[in-house]
């Protein structure tokens, strides 16, 4: 059975200026023991999705439709009391900003202890021991001494580790990590990702890794859910996505990843020997590409496919109908040169997937044409 | 925040300062909004602010209520009220009589304390218009048979006068101090603000009373004039603080530097940019100063240190009410009505102040709604 499944989650805020549709059908599945990355620009609703899973939505958020199934049980129908036993114990979260996620006036030890005591009674000495070992596990030196420190006495990376340790203390089945690497410096990022991977393996947790960084995806995730404007637009394994993105937005994301990410991508692709020549890092476009146009704000969502104002593959239908996230059986040309075609079942929300896939494969060798296409699309608008 | 004995100067507003420091992040934003408000919006920003204020119902109604009652107080001698000073020992402690039972009588005798020229004219006009007709004891009479309604209205004049005088003094001192400190900055600013800090942590109520003890020794009129000056001189501290903050923000704002680079003289740029930037915040703090000055006046009068009989003030009425109750007679109206009037006025002033702050103080807009 799927461990965690999100189905057609729709969420809006009712504000003075009318409703704001911030999530518009988010769907994905997370199997036990795997890492799913949720990728999207900032503002696309990743954090709100994560908070929905935890039942921690800010006041004013209204869930319109959708289900969050944890081992078949719909979390959205839980009572406040039931939620309490789910949070921390079954689902735990590592928050985006470790600075503000910790209480400034409580010591690290006190805050860690709560994570245990919220779920089971234990003697103070046992709790302390458990907390110290959790700190040790996330790579904090001299954990005993750190228990009595206040958050402001720790460095940014350490605080992030404390937050991770706190999430792990009640041994959750699913760990939700909301941009765990955005607030820390580059060397620390790698360490934290490694740590998450290590812990996932050790406790056979499932990890939902929220990020906007494809480098992180390539390094840490087995599956990817691409989110655009509050909507899952593509679901794929990491390899599939990097090889043949089916949604124009995914294509753009891949192209706009900085070269460091491209390197990770290359390594992902290189891991599968059956593939044809891929674009090596040296061939990466020197100029950093970014998808022209701006992410739409929830207040002014385009009709039809939300991506159509920025999409180079747009057809007439795109601005009228909304493509569903469906499993399309597509014939994906996996190798331009050999003409090899594989038929796969992939899920993306786009009417023109086959064209996109073909272009994506073509672009591995000749990105230039695709970029021209994109720029031509934006010309009349700018 | 305003309006209780707690707010008398003597305590620094530590919580408010703490709250402000939490908004430090928005300081830059604050400056930008300020300059934007002053320069970008081409049309009159005051019209927009008026509309905004109107949308805040309680603030708008408070404004009307206060305006109306100020008018009533201002033209009090013109109204057909009984004399507030006439001692009528035949009719002490009359309980309130509803207007539909006794609407009025023809007993008016013009007995007042020495009135000013304008008040004498008003009084003559009143006698011309209404003759000896006066309203009945709608709110009852006090232990000396004086009409409570008339005394409340005339007491309101005192409050109004004190509030305006205090506000004006605090305006002059506070704004000039704040502008000087904020404009020059550096060491001058540091020392000036440190002085404000020290002054703000003095228990002013005690010092003021001590000053009144020493200075107002001889005549009560000397005491009253000292009293006005002292009140104004005390309440400029927070005004100076906010004005200084605004001026500092302005000075560092880019547009002023631009203006200077373009060759505008310091003085002209000061005046041109100062007024639109500082005025809103000054208005807000004036509305917040007025209730606390009124409160302080009534506090002193209640202690017998403020306005002295035969003049009236609300504090004096409250004192008389408190003194009139005894186990044998409980003239509740003498306690209740002055309390109601004072409470309503202070409430309206507080509401108006809050509303004005929302509309005029850019910092409060950056704040999430509570």
């Amino acid at each position: 059975m799927t461990l965690l499944e999100v189905r057609n989650l729709r969420l809006r805020f009712d504000t003075k200026d009318g409703p704001l549709q911030v999530l518009d059908e988010i769907s994905f599945k997370l199997e036990a023991g795997e890492t799913l990355a949720m990728v999207g620009e900032s503002g696309s609703g990743k954090s709100l999705t994560a908070l929905t899973l935890m039942g921690l939505l800010p006041p004013g958020a209204i869930i319109e439709t959708g289900e969050v199934l944890l081992e078949g049980r719909n979390l959205l129908t839980l009572s406040a009391r039931q939620w309490r036993s789910v949070r921390g114990r079954e689902l735990a979260m590592v928050y985006q900003d470790a600075n503000s996620a910790l209480h400034p006036l409580l010591t690290v030890g006190e805050q860690l202890a709560e994570a245990i005591l919220a779920h089971r009674k234990e003697s103070p000495s046992e709790v302390r021991k458990a907390c110290a070992s959790a700190l040790g596990e996330v790579g904090i030196s001299a954990p005993e001494a750190r228990l009595d420190a206040y958050p402001h006495e720790l460095s940014g990376g350490m605080r992030q580790r404390v937050v991770i340790a706190m999430a792990l203390l009640a041994r959750p089945k699913v760990l939700i990590a909301d941009e765990p690497t955005t607030a820390v410096d580059v060397t620390m990022q790698a360490q934290i990702l490694e740590l998450l991977e290590h812990l996932r393996a050790k406790y056979s947790m499932a990890v939902l890794l929220v990020t906007h960084d494809l480098g992180v995806v390539a390094r840490a995730a087995q599956k990817v859910a691409v989110v655009y404007a509050g909507r899952t637009v593509e679901l794929a394994t990491t390899k599939e996505l990097f090889q043949t993105p089916l949604h124009p937005y995914s294509v753009g994301l891949l192209r706009s990843a900085p070269s460091e990410a491209a390197q990770s991508m290359a390594s992902v692709l290189a891991a599968s020997p059956s593939q044809g020549p891929t674009q090596s890092p040296s061939q990466a476009p020197a100029r950093l590409f970014s998808i022209p146009g701006m992410a739409p704000s929830p207040a002014r969502m385009p009709v039809g496919c939300a991506f159509h104002p920025r999409c180079p593959f747009e057809v007439a239908r795109c601005s009228r109908e909304r493509p569903e996230l469906k499993a399309w059986r597509v014939e994906v040309p996996s190798n331009m040169h050999t003409g090899l075609v594989t038929a796969t079942s992939r899920r993306a929300a786009c009417f023109e997937q086959e064209r996109v896939a073909a272009a994506a494969v073509a672009s591995r060798t000749g990105w230039h044409e695709l970029e021209q296409l994109w720029l031509a699309k934006m010309e009349p608008r700018t | 925040m305003t309006g209780s004995a707690l707010d008398l100067p003597g305590g620094r507003r530590t919580p408010a300062t703490a709250a402000r420091s939490r908004w430090k992040l928005t300081e830059r934003e604050f400056e930008l909004r300020q300059s934007a408000a002053a320069t970008v919006s081409g049309e009159n920003p005051w019209r927009a602010r008026l509309v905004q204020l109107r949308r805040r119902r309680t603030a708008w109604w408070s404004l009307w209520l206060l305006g109306l009652s100020s008018l009533v107080c201002l033209f009090a001698p013109l109204l057909p009220l009984p004399s507030p000073a006439l001692i009528e020992l035949r009719a002490p402690l009359l309980a309130p009589i509803a207007p539909w039972r006794v609407f009025g009588t023809f007993d008016f005798q013009p007995e007042y304390w020495p009135l000013g020229w304008l008040d004498r004219q008003l009084l003559e006009l009143r006698q011309f218009l209404f003759g000896t007709w006066q309203s009945g004891p709608w709110l009852g009479t006090d232990s000396k048979g004086r009409d409570l309604l008339a005394r409340i209205v005339f007491g309101g004049r005192t409050s109004l006068a004190v509030a305006l005088a205090g506000a004006a003094t605090s305006l002059v001192i506070g704004v000039s101090y704040g502008v000087i400190a904020g404009w020059f900055g550096g060491r001058i600013d540091r020392w000036m603000m440190r002085a404000v800090d020290v002054l703000q942590s003095l228990p002013f109520v005690f010092l003021v009373i001590f000053l009144l003890t020493v200075l107002g020794a001889r005549s009560s009129s000397a005491r009253e004039s000292i009293f006005f000056v002292v009140i104004g001189a005390v309440w400029w501290l927070s005004m100076a603080r906010v004005v200084r903050g605004t001026v500092r923000g302005m000075r560092s704002a880019a547009f002023l530097e631009c203006a200077q680079v373009l060759g505008a003289s310091q003085a002209s740029s000061l005046v041109r940019h100062l007024v639109p930037n500082v005025l809103p915040i000054v208005i807000v703090y004036l509305t917040l100063t007025i209730p606390s000055v009124m409160l302080f006046e009534s506090f002193l009068s209640f202690l017998g240190l403020g306005v002295s009989p035969p003049r009236v003030s609300w504090g004096l009425l409250a004192l008389e009410g408190a003194q009139a109750i005894n186990p044998l007679a409980i003239p509740w109206w003498l306690v209740l009505f002055p309390a109601l009037v004072m409470g309503l006025t202070l409430l309206a002033l507080t509401m108006l102040g809050d509303g004005l702050r929302d509309v005029l103080d850019p910092r409060s807009q950056a704040r999430p709604a509570p």
């Binding site: 928050y95 | 305590g11 003890t213 408190a322």
Partner: protein, 326 residues
Amino acid sequence: MIRAALRHLAGLVISVVIVLAVSFALMHAVPGGPFDAERGLHPEIEANLARAYHLDWPVWKQFLQYIGPFNLGPDGWLGTGADRFGGVLALDFGPSLRHRDYDVADILAASLPVSFQLGALALAWSVPLGILLGTLAAARAGTWLDALLRVLTTTGIVLPGFVIASLSLLVFAFAWPLFPVAGWSSLRHMVLPAFALGAPCATYVARLTRSGVLENLQLDFVRTAKGKGLGRGAVIWRHALRSALLPVVAYLGPASAAILTGSLVVEKIFFLPGAGTHFVNSALNRDYTLALGVTLVYTVLVFCLNALADLLASFLDPRVGGRQES
């Protein structure tokens, strides 16, 4: 922390010196003051005054004597023996101008305990209750409880303290005689004054707490706390309230200043033999020495309480004090 304490101390010294100098100058300058020749006091008090203020000395020497803490001898610099200490800094405020045979210090020694008891009692009930009510209002924001508390706090903030005092006297001592009207001999006597004095403080603390807790409930660390599976009670009382208490603690200084101020009217209404009553009477009778004595004591007191509250607040906040790790 030490720097902050020193800063408070400096402020205290500066203001005490200013108050002393100004009051000395004023008392000299003003007709009818203790140093004025034609004051027409009782001969006994005259004698006391002459003895205390050495009216035959030059003014600067009078000032030094007046400040203290050492008595100046008639010929030499310092006095000797048992009379070594004197002047304001030695807590010798001179003789009262109106109470024959009493020194200001005697009057203060008799009346200050009453005022302190009253003030302490008022703080003791109002601050905890204010915190409790404020937190409850925040926890139940938007419900009838919140609305009721809002009405109460608005009333408490809008009505002046003396109005609250006379209303409570009217209701609970006369109309419905639960408590005695005046006096200070038993706990029952203390209930109404302490209530009237603490009510404004309670309402202010309640408002402060409510807005603090509400604000904190929006913050990320509260979300973290909920995310651990903590119940609503723990989240509010342990997490949201904790950081909302810092401003409340800092407010204790201004609050006690306000309580001292309020005690003037409360003592007057309830006829309590406290320092406030003496102070008001001294102002009415122009008993300068007594008025100055109370003013000085309260100045120092307010400074100390403010400093104490500030230091307590920074002591409770681990972020102050700078144990930053590099």
